[in-house]
């Protein structure tokens, strides 16, 4: 089949510790190979003076499913802002914060990304997520499944039956064709069923007699019992509230003694922009990113992502129902809510991040501070929590900010003085290098998801031939000074290659293959499953509004599955 040789590129492949070496990358039949013998059919790309990286991986983005579509339905103004015509090979596009499915795939590919994970799937609505996945071209996908306010989870935690909890996680991942355990404001989604919230890690969830702390530790233990490729993935309690950094750090401390079942973190705490807040109200609101980074610098069982704020329009969407209602009331804006029976809550609120509004300015700084103050680049992923902090198309802006203290200074001139006083950003001189960026935009994402052994995030032999080539020469560009050049290069890669095929050349889509979907099939002891199914049959008979037989995502909805096996040792 097809052979391709990328010659003389400056290769950044952190998983294989390759830091800007001049190398050739050989591709055969969609995989990276050690070497190929040149034949007349071998395509050769001269990548000298260009950067070569593995295809981008995004471990946390909201790209498909009921809440994304709710965002589209309630915001036709947003859809109108990103209109692109149909071409010979591409379907028409729309949207900025909530692009249509086709744009979702094309725009990620145009940025050099080839794998993206949806960060919140209610099991009940998983079929919808997979229908949209099917209409997102090019990129490979996977999804994290909501377990944090689920009745079956809370009951098993209350009974301290971690085996049954593990059996339920395995069943839920299979039912949703999902990849990992997502926890959003644990217990809060259930409390929101009657319009309430939980007030902290040790507050009792109404009617279920468990605390968020118990839910988190129970799920973490079950997650490790199952040897899942990814750790628990957590949106902390009290997100969006001044002073929440204490809860965030306390949450990380809860999990210090849990042993990971494989070489990775025990917990991934997501979108730090919204979690590292000091102050007691909006008046004395301040950044506590330094405190969170201090903790991260001393502990390696936690990874986080930025959830960087981007000024302009965003559409916030999350399973944190009570937080979204508070947002909508605070901003007097429109509000969509979507409680999911027995499982979770959700809310969608469009908003705008405005420069010189000091709360937004400080939030903008928080994401950058966490990324820059945390010493280990592998510990903090680059995300915007698309589209909560802002749309993913702004990743090049974030890269430029991380690589250039000068750019940060220029930006800060446009912002309020309170931002300077209440964050540490203006004192930070650190500038990330190309290697750091390769870590934060692909290598670490693949590693924390447990995808490196499945061919993602690196360019070692047998990896998927997902490669991005950027039009920029690290020898000639001083990223600190020429940040505009850096941003431009990351906005428009010279080539994006997916499974050995050119999907983007010079910013234009050239092919639209269908991506694959990763999901995890975990096995559990039969006796645990038997106990679980007794519970579930009762729940479906009495409390769910659909029958058990119609609940699981049917195979028709996952056209190109990649099934990763997990389960007890």
């Amino acid at each position: 089949m097809s052979e391709l040789l990328i010659k003389n590129g400056r290769v950044f492949d952190p998983i294989n510790s390759i830091n800007g070496d001049i190398m050739d990358i050989a591709i055969k039949n969609g995989k990276i190979v050690d070497d190929i013998s040149l034949s007349p059919d071998t395509k050769v790309i001269d990548a000298s003076s260009m950067i070569v990286m593995p295809g981008g991986v995004d471990a946390h983005s909201h790209i498909a499913g009921s809440k994304v579509n709710s965002g589209r339905i309630m915001c036709p103004n947003d859809s109108r802002s990103g209109i692109e015509k149909r071409t010979k090979i591409t379907r028409p596009c729309s949207g900025y914060t909530v692009p249509n499915t086709f744009a979702m795939g094309y725009r990620y590919a145009k940025l050099g990304y080839t794998t993206v994970f949806e960060a919140a799937i209610p099991i009940l609505h998983a079929r919808h997520t997979h229908e949209e996945f099917g209409d997102i071209p090019i990129i490979d996908k996977g999804g994290l499944v909501l377990f944090g306010s689920n009745w079956q989870v809370m009951e098993a935690v209350r009974e301290n039956d971690i085996e049954k909890l593990a059996a339920y996680i395995a069943w839920g991942l299979s039912a949703s064709r999902g990849y990992g355990v997502k926890i959003v404001n644990p217990g809060g989604g259930e409390a929101w069923g009657f319009g309430k919230n939980v007030s902290g890690l040790h507050d009792t969830v109404p009617n279920f007699d468990v605390t968020p702390a118990e839910i988190i530790t129970g799920l973490a233990k079950a997650n490790e019992m199952l040897h899942l490729p990814h750790s628990i993935h957590l949106h902390c309690n009290l997100l969006g509230k001044p002073g929440n950094y204490k809860t965030t750090i306390e949450t990380m401390k809860l999990l210090e003694n849990i042993k990971p079942s494989m070489d990775r973190q025990v917990v991934h705490i997501t979108h730090m922009t919204f979690n590292a807040w000091g102050g007691t109200n909006w008046g004395d609101f301040e950044s506590k990113a330094d405190a969170v980074a201090d903790y991260l610098n001393q502990h390696d069982h936690v990874t986080v992502d930025m959830g960087q704020l981007i000024f302009g329009n965003a559409t916030t969407m999350t399973a944190d129902g009570p937080m979204q209602y508070a947002n909508a009331r605070l901003l007097a804006t429109k509000w969509t809510n979507g409680d999911v029976e027995l499982e979770d809550a959700s809310g969608v609120v469009p908003l705008s991040y405005i420069r010189k509004m000091y709360i937004h300015d400080i939030m903008w700084a928080v994401g950058l501070e966490v990324a820059l103050l945390t010493k280990n680049p592998w510990q903090v992923l680059l995300t915007t929590d698309h589209p909560n902090g802002g749309p993913f198309v702004n990743y090049p802006e974030v890269i430029a900010l991380l690589m250039s203290a000068r750019k940060r200074e220029e930006e800060m001139l446009k912002l309020s003085n309170k931002m300077r006083d209440r964050t540490t950003l203006s004192g930070i001189e650190r500038e990330l290098d190309w290697y750091d960026i390769a870590i934060k935009t692909r290598a670490s994402h693949a590693k924390i998801l447990g995808l490196t052994d499945h061919g993602k995030g690196h360019l070692g032999a047998y990896a998927d031939a997902d490669v991005t080539i950027y039009h920029i020469n690290p020898d000639q560009v001083d990223a600190g000074r020429e940040h505009a050049t850096v941003k431009k290069a990351f906005e428009k890669p010279a080539y994006t290659i997916k499974d050995g095929e050119f999907v983007v050349r010079n910013g234009e889509i050239t092919a639209t293959p269908e991506g694959r979907t990763f999901w995890v099939n975990a096995s559990v002891p039969e006796e645990d499953n038997t106990r679980l199914m007794k519970d579930l049959r009762l729940k479906f008979r009495k409390y769910y509004s659909i029958n058990l037989a119609n609940y699981m995502v049917q195979d028709n909805y996952v056209k190109h599955p990649v099934v990763i096996k997990a389960g007890g040792s």
Binding site: R86, T90, G195, V348, N550
Partner: protein, 430 residues
């Protein structure tokens, strides 16, 4: 053979607990379905063969190939084609409809534009604070039916989701819940409710506004009588709303298609939003056809909009300008494809007149008023009975409909796919 857990493809309730008895590829019995659903599943008269209207004006039987050929020719020669309907077919067929719209540069619109379209406009103004139907079953101790009559339109809604069944927090079912119906006339739903508020026709916006005033503590603003309702009654209703643990507001076309239209919905959504400062309240439109919700979902994720004009090569949406009736009233449409719906029976007469005078292609298992004005008729298999497919329940839950018996008829999806192949140019994305 008995098929269990079958899903009914009649109304937006998508009851998924039917047991269907099949003998020699014929459905002989349906258990648990309502009369509407059972009548569809047990089968009734349908279009037997593809037909093309001849020069004498009579529909003449023909082959599928020639009907598809003729349909493709009509669509290829049209400058302003309208692809309309979509409420009673699968998401897979709807998805093909959007693609066909792209290739032709057509307007793609659904029956929602004459039904719950104003609901979507209201949602664009205020969002939709809603919940899955099971959440309502387990928690709601107050149910409000406004401008709707589910006993007739969604016969099993109350027994499955919104009333009679016990829920996790309401172990005595109906006895734990209060029903309130607001309507312009006494209905069957009103008759079994604990409270019935009869309001003057067209006064929904005013009554909803008065309730908002009361819920927000502005009692002084409300006069003694509001559009036929006494202040005393309104105070009692607002009190019930504020003091319930979980309230659910269901509404139908009595709210969307009466005076005020989307502003009524805006007001009901705002009331729901306000009530959440004091208790828990959700709101859900009672959607009619079994997959009208699905069209809004598919069209939104594929184009960004719940209905779309693709004549510019890119999605464009402006209800009031590009909806089916806007185009038809202006006499812009020069050919139409009507899938799984009956505009001839439901559109204003000027629209129907303008629809009838131009070539019209119908894809539908059943004959209806639109068949009488169709030039090409293509019968298809019934989704959820003779072919599989996806549909969305009124609360946005996606379900897979089963195939119960084999059929010689092709599916809507297959017919649309053949038309797409005929009208697209070589090498184009399709």
């Amino acid at each position: 053979m008995e098929i269990t857990d079958a899903t009914c493809s009649f109304c937006g309730s998508l009851c998924d607990d039917l047991t269907v008895k099949v003998e020699d590829n014929e459905i002989v019995d349906v258990k648990r379905a309502c009369r509407l659903g059972a009548s569809k599943i047990l089968g009734h008269e349908r279009i037997n063969s593809p037909m093309i209207r001849n020069e004498a004006g009579i529909l003449e039987e023909t082959s599928f190939d020639s009907a598809i050929d003729k349909a493709s020719q009509i669509l290829l020669h049209a400058k302003r084609p309208l692809l309309y309907g979509w409420a009673s077919t699968s998401c897979e067929a709807q998805s093909k409809g959007v693609l066909l719209g792209e290739i032709l540069g057509a307007v793609v619109d659904s029956t929602a534009s004459v039904c719950h379209g104003p609901t979507t406009l209201g949602v664009q103004e205020k969002g939709l604070p809603t919940a899955s139907l099971g959440q309502i079953k387990n928690r709601a101790d107050l149910i409000i039916f406004w401008g709707c009559n589910p006993i007739h339109a969604h016969p099993r809604h109350m027994s499955r989701y919104s009333g009679y069944l016990p829920g996790f927090f309401l172990d005595r079912g109906r006895q734990n819940r209060k029903f309130v119906t607001v309507d312009v006339r006494m209905t069957e739903t009103a008759a079994i409710s604990d409270e019935f508020l009869q309001i003057e026709q067209g006064s929904d916006y005013v009554v909803l506004s008065a309730l908002r005033a009361l819920v927000n503590g502005k009692d002084d603003l409300v006069p003694d009588v509001v559009c036929g309702v006494s202040k005393e009654d309104l105070v009692r209703l607002s009190g019930m709303m504020r003091s319930c643990r979980f309230g659910a507001f269901f509404f139908g076309m009595g709210l969307t298609q009466s005076k005020g239209m989307y502003k009524n919905i805006d007001c009901a959504l705002s009331l729901t939003n306000d009530l959440n400062t004091q208790t828990k309240f959700v709101i859900t439109p009672l959607r009619g056809h079994y997959n009208v919700t699905g069209f809004g979902q598919v069209c939104s994720w594929q184009t960004g909009f719940p209905a779309v004009d693709l004549s510019r090569g890119a999605p464009y949406y402006n209800p009031g300008e590009m909806s089916a009736n806007d185009l038809l009233m202006r006499d812009e449409v020069d050919a139409s494809l009507i899938v799984a719906s009956d505009p001839a029976a439901h559109f204003p007469s000027t629209s129907v007149h303008n629809l009838a005078k131009m070539p019209l292609i119908q894809i539908d298992p059943y004959a209806n008023a639109t068949t009488e004005i169709a030039d090409v008729v293509i019968p298809t298999a019934i989704v959820g009975v003779e072919t599989e497919g996806t549909a969305y329940r009124m609360d946005g839950l996606s379900l897979r409909l089963r195939k119960l018996v084999d059929s010689d008829y092709p599916s809507d999806e297959e017919i649309l796919d053949k038309i797409i192949k005929k009208v697209s140019r070589k090498g184009d994305v399709c």
